[in-house]
Symmetry: C2
Subunit: 352 residues, 2 copies
């Protein structure tokens, strides 16, 4: 029992000593069913009795145990969100948007990140399912989501966002990565560039592959050859990205001439490339996939292909709750357009 004058310390031995409905009933001098009615907002209790029960609840510090309700009703009022990285700023507005939609539906958000690791994604997803989340919004790291089929069959609604599911049919909310990258490269070509590099994320990631495809399409449509030394996909840690950027703009390790422009595959790559001295000194043109905070205040300001991460999150969460409300039409793929924002770095002409 709580003593409000003296803050109590948590101590393991106290687990399980929470007040129960029985304690509330005894203190209020009513039956267990009456307490249950008050707690669950059911009718059939007089205002005076309700007041006594509420006083007993307050005095004892009773809280309804939702774990019991989960078992009884099969619904937990929580959804899981599996991110790639809690610390990537691209996912921050996406998370917040999912949280806002969940909150509007009275559901809690359980969050976790896969760190771009297939096994960790699977572990996390199954742990969330074991906790009986109603549904999942997943930014997938894995290449095979068949492990989710029993969960989906058992009623866990699942919406993929940013990247589609692999080897199962499932709802997905995506940005148009192919079209965005193609537009970015066409923009550089329109400003006179012919030797353009692409530095992207791991090739197994859907968005990285799609953006590479967009890069190749734009080059092909302009009749420009692509030297394979101009394409570098890999992890987005700064050392790798910096090495690839330096190599491309200096023309090392290749018979082909150095690139005069770069398309960077996401915001993590871009914020590293803008720091590379060789890129700055040679006035290499740059278009970055993803907008990012302060992009417009850099010198030169960074031209980007902007996605709408908050809208991705909102659309995914809304689709999830539509599924939970019973919509059982075929899996959908929602695609959101990207937007080219010219700011300066993408309009630098090639060095003669």
């Amino acid at each position: 029992m709580a003593d409000s004058a003296r803050p109590a310390r948590p101590a393991r031995r106290r687990y399980g000593l929470r007040p129960t409905m029985k304690d509330v009933a005894a203190r209020a001098g009513v039956g267990l069913k009456t307490v249950s009615r008050v707690v669950n907002g059911e009718p059939g209790v007089t205002p005076d009795t309700e007041r006594r029960v509420q006083e007993a609840i307050t005095a004892l510090g009773f809280r309804r145990n939702d774990s019991a309700r989960i078992l009884r009703k099969g619904r937990t009022s929580s959804i899981g969100l599996v991110l790639e990285d809690l610390a990537d700023p691209f996912y921050a507005p996406l998370s917040r948007a999912v949280e806002e939609v969940a909150r509007a539906h009275g559901a809690l958000l359980i969050n976790g990140s896969s760190a771009e690791d297939e096994e960790r994604e699977r572990e996390l997803v199954l742990a969330l399912c074991a906790r009986r989340v109603d549904g999942l919004v997943i930014i997938p790291a894995g290449a095979d989501h068949r492990y989710l089929e029993p969960e989906i069959a058992a009623g866990v609604a699942t919406v993929f966002v940013d990247r589609p599911a692999a080897r199962i049919e499932a709802d997905a909310v995506l940005s148009r990565s192919f079209e965005g990258a193609r537009e970015g490269v066409a923009h550089l070509i329109a400003h006179g560039h012919r030797r353009i590099g692409f530095i992207g994320d791991l090739p197994r990631i859907h968005t990285a592959a799609e953006r590479l495809r967009g890069y190749r399409a734009a080059m092909a449509e302009a009749g420009l050859p692509v030297d394979e030394s101009w394409v570098a996909l890999g992890p987005t840690h700064p050392e790798r990205v910096r090495a690839d950027a330096e190599r491309m703009v200096e023309g090392r390790g290749s018979a082909a001439a150095p690139v005069t422009a770069l398309l960077t595959g996401n915001n993590r790559v871009t914020v590293t490339v803008v720091r590379v001295p060789a890129v700055r000194e040679r006035r290499v043109a740059l278009v970055g996939f993803d907008d990012f905070e302060l992009a417009d205040l850099l010198t030169p300001p960074v031209t980007v292909i902007a996605q709408e991460p908050a809208l991705l999150g909102r659309k995914a969460a809304e689709l999830l709750f539509r599924r939970l409300e019973g919509a059982d039409d075929a899996p959908r793929r929602v695609e959101l357009p990207t937007r080219l924002i010219p700011r300066g770095s993408g309009e630098i002409p090639p060095r003669s």
Copy 2:
């Protein structure tokens, strides 16, 4: 039952149709107790029987229902993290660090944000307690946490981070806001400034109040008067911050002369102030509380008082798990030092 050849659709009517241990026992041709032993990794099952049970589990898509275990054992292996804003980049590395510690302890992380609203914080905290989290890491918005006393008494371990609890004794992991702000202002004074403004967060937020106190202390120690028009606390949305910055650097609405330098109270304030044309045109010196991505690439690069958000999160989560493991000594206050990083904006001399 799952059909692995055809992806199934979630449909509400299927809730509650998950396979049970009874179904597994029937399919494997063993008793319920045997299935329970296999599921919970208890001894006393032959390898051949275990294999049959595992096959039945796979075939049926059975998952252990952790809700039942919660009721039985009183531990959920999850912790709650209550943030102020999921989308503030300051909290991203803090969240990730809490997640890493939780993961190392085999616990899931349940996340939510208060949006700096006392009532929403309380709702979220109590919803998490009702879900039987083992413990909570809280960045508090509220001014009275006595509502948590019954939960703490009932065994929910609670650690506050970034800001302390109000009106209860509880563990807290904080940055030295007072000392950091004092050092930042002393730095500006050492570079010749005498008229220095402070733009901070809402005055009821502990860190905002502490940083204001540090500002006043540094001014007093240097024998400099503070005109009250040089101090502006409020919400961190760009319109308010921009208006206060313009007013201070232009000296409008005050008999006092314009400020020649500013201390900004957190990263949200700083990223707005660096955009204000009047600040840039008048070459107003700037020291920002909190480091932020790309601060060093702006013109001029931004001098900051850096905190270590990842370390705040890690220390808070480690303290939480120590409490959960039984440490019941008095509540602790852990204070982490800040670090002044001179980069250019804080070393601009005053306009003569």
